[in-house]
């Protein structure tokens, strides 16, 4: 099977597509964790809410593109409110408390979604412009999945330049390295952190919208992707763009190839990989040197 070029092309594209979704999800989680040592387990819930907001937007406005704009903004807004009301006060508390509070939010989100949208699974249609297939290296491949890959690459490049070339990017990079030193220079780290948190929520919402036409939308869709996302952060090393990119790529590929090449080990391969990385490089593949 591995020698079949058609299989390799299609499966690699499938792997890239999952990698890009994981990247959109993990980068926000990773940078927030790197900057503030704050782990938000409800990150997957934001992804789910993004998908459901997309469902509602499509129903109201009958346009995927409106949903693509509105739903991530809605998720960012929800994230901002949660930050102001709850998470801001959690920062200086012990990690165990943060984990418990954000873990509780997962259940709140699950039931809230069920109350608003019901328990039945939904899908939204693929937008007409991206419906159908194109031929890639002689293999037929769904256009919409190529769109996901392209979107992921675009976000990656934008984030790269944002981090390297903008003032906020510089503050974020410095904040990940040594937060206290940045604060001592008179820079409002708190505000930078808030913006990064909202951007992370926006990206999670974006991931929810783009995956909605491919995956089913149902209460609980956040859990399987949350686990993969956390593994990406652990494998890649928290706090770095490079880590999130490489981690997403590795996990996306291993998961996509693993479930076909070793189906009986489908649920084991990524955990085994994470364990191996942790044994060899406990800080992840591309850690940011922490001066705490």
């Amino acid at each position: 099977m591995l020698l079949d070029p058609g299989f390799l092309i299609v499966q690699t594209l499938n792997g890239l597509q999952l990698s890009m979704l994981l990247f959109l999800l993990s980068i926000g989680l990773s940078v927030v964790f790197g900057m503030m040592n704050f782990i938000n387990l409800a990150h997957g819930t934001l992804y789910m809410v993004g998908a459901y907001l997309a469902l509602s937007s499509v129903r109201w406005f009958d346009s995927y593109w409106v949903a693509l704009v509105l739903a991530p903004l809605g998720v960012a807004l929800i994230g901002a409110v949660f930050y102001a009301v709850l998470l801001r006060h959690m920062q200086r508390q012990s990690p165990m408390r943060q984990v418990l509070v954000t873990f509780g939010l997962i259940f709140v989100g699950f039931d809230a979604v069920r109350m608003v949208w019901g328990a039945l699974p939904h899908t939204i249609p693929i937008p007409a412009a991206l419906d159908g297939s194109v031929t890639v290296f002689g293999e037929i491949y769904p256009t919409y999945r190529l769109f996901i890959i392209a979107l992921g690459v675009t976000v990656l490049i934008a984030l790269h330049f944002g981090l390297e070339r903008t003032r906020l990017g510089a503050v974020v990079r410095a904040g990940v390295d040594d937060r206290r030193m940045v604060a001592a220079l008179g820079i409002d780290v708190e505000r930078a952190f808030f913006l990064v948190f909202c951007l992370g929520c926006w990206l999670a919402g974006l991931a929810g919208v783009v995956s909605a036409p491919v995956f089913s939308i149902f209460p609980g869709m956040d859990m399987s992707i949350l686990i993969l996302t956390l593994i990406v952060v652990v494998v890649g090393g928290p706090g770095s763009l490079k880590g999130a990119v490489v981690g997403s790529f590795v996990i996306g590929m291993v998961d996509t190839y693993g479930q076909v090449l070793a189906p009986e080990l489908a649920r084991v391969t990524i955990y085994a990989l994470m364990a191996a990385v942790l044994l060899v490089r406990p800080q992840g593949l591309f850690p940011v040197s922490q001066a705490h």
């Binding site: 299609v10 499966q11 499938n14 328990a119 039945l120 491919v214 089913s216």
Partner: protein, 394 residues
Amino acid sequence: MNGKRIMAAALAAALLAGTTAAANAQSDIKIGVLLPYSGVFGGLGKDQDAAIEMGFDDFGREVADRGITLVKADTESKPNAGLAAVKKLILRDKVDLVVGIISSGVLAAVRDYVHGSETPLIVTNAGNVDITGERCSPWIVRTSFSNAQIVRDMGPWMAGEGYGTAFLMAFDYAAGHQMMDTFREGFEASGGRIVGEAYPPLGETKDFGPYLAQVKAADPDTVFVFFAGGPAIKFAKEWAAFGMKDEVQLSGAGWLNSALYVKKQGADAVGTLGALNYYPSIDTPENHAWQEKFRAAHGRDGSEFGVAAYDSARLIVSALEATGGNTDDKAAIVKAMHAVEFTGPRGPLRIDPMTNNVIQNIYVAQVEARGDSVAAAIRHTFPAVQDPPNGCTL
């Protein structure tokens, strides 16, 4: 003295008979309807509910001067909630019979309780083979199908049509494996070869992409699948989007293109082969009449789910008529069901006294374009398909 005694006894007997008759005339026959009105299978539950109501409208809401009352209970598509619901029906509502059950999981959960309570249960969907096999019960009758019954003859038929190699795909759970194992047995016995299999985890990954790449590499003559509901709609779409439609013949248990959603699948479904106990295109007067009535009432085609529920109502009314409306002797009701035979929308059917599973035709159909819509056209009929006892000793 003797004469007086005889007179008194006769009078007492007459009075007694009178009161029971009066009681019978007064009290309604209570039938519990056990369906998922919410949860994953909520849509199917509502479909069957509508068809059961239609069945009692058509075949009578009164037997031997006793009215028939339906008491409804929601399984919420969950085994534990289903068990609680059936207990409520039997203990509190004191129903004479129970009809319904979509999910095999719910059926497995209520089986022992129903069996112990000696209440006849008419299963309208759940196809787990064990319930009319190893774990069969004299109280559980099934009017829908068994998983094996649907696909058993499909293997030899596909091999006979010239498909030499097959790839199997279904979710990793009991029904998926039962169907795939049964297909494999028949297909291999007829000279076919299985070149690959994939069992994605149920309800977890909903992305078929990686598995379609695997199919592409295995390059089989046909892919035989079992998917139903949302995943079936998605599978057909992905199948077309990955360009598999023109390369490999897609086939499977007929729920892949159920009448409930084949129009939603549209052009993506055209060409797909399926085996099922009912298709709306069956060309009989009984089916035309039923479809006309169903369309008039609901504005869409009746499905195999509706037919099984509708036929269940007919089976129940016929059996109760045979017992003269007597519901005290439950065993007699089940026995009467074994004697009922009729031709419904799906064709002739009766209940197998060996397993309590239905004996019915299984149809092979292929989805074809009809104007700007699509429909499954019958290509072949396996008449009166009967399950082997499979360890059931009734």
